[in-house]
Symmetry: C2
Subunit: 139 residues, 2 copies
């Protein structure tokens, strides 16, 4: 739940001018009670529903990538079909429901911190992500 001047700040700090298209994208992404996961296609649909103006795909991709680079969005690797993004940028893990093709957050407190007893010389750890794939109980 943010107001316009906060969107403008988010855009400026991502190196983007605050245009009306980008502010609309911000509203859809950040003016929500809860964080959520999305594909670009789903986001574009959400945007069309919430405005009469049409925003081009290129603008959506550009804005999403700028936010991702700035750390205002995370990309979640699921498979190679399409990109999944997350408006929850805190450190957390995921269930992936393969039947529903649905990503679900796992609260940080619900996962024992992952301990890794080996390193790669000359490399430092950037992130540790756990993906728990689930399916219908009966199947």
């Amino acid at each position: 739940m943010l107001n316009n001047s906060q969107y403008i700040e988010k855009l400026r700090s991502s190196g983007l001018r605050p245009t009306k298209q980008r502010i609309k994208i911000c509203e859809v992404l950040f003016n929500t009670e809860k964080t959520f996961h999305f594909t670009i296609n789903e986001l574009v649909k959400k945007i069309s529903k919430s405005t009469n103006d049409k925003i081009s795909l290129a603008t959506v991709y550009n804005t999403i990538h700028a936010f991702k680079n700035k750390g205002y969005l995370k990309e979640i690797p699921i498979n190679s079909d399409q990109s999944y993004f997350d408006t929850n940028t805190s450190h957390h893990h995921h269930f992936y429901d393969e039947s529903q093709r649905d990503l679900i957050d796992i609260d940080e407190a619900d996962v024992e911190p992952v301990k890794i007893y080996t390193r790669i010389p000359g490399k430092k750890i950037k992130s540790v992500e756990v993906l728990v794939k689930v399916e219908d109980d009966k199947s």
Copy 2:
């Protein structure tokens, strides 16, 4: 390190007839000292190097997918650029070197088993995968 009759068995049990193209693919995949990770593109290059016959892309994709479905290969979710596969089908985790775009196995013994204290009603866990992204130490 397997012999031809073992490849034939792998193919048959995957629902595929043992043709010479598919046996060549088996050799490249399974006739190695160590397991390895690959993209389809890398695999096709490896195949061309090890034979004079050309094997079509469609045959490679079909065979890889049959092996994946049967569990003789695993797909590792990294990003949406392309699919990464693994001839190591045992339960293990990965480092992903973002500078080198390189996947590296983490030995099962080098990761504390991941404990998850929450479940999704009606769903059962299919897999738990840890991806540790690393980058050059200086950067």
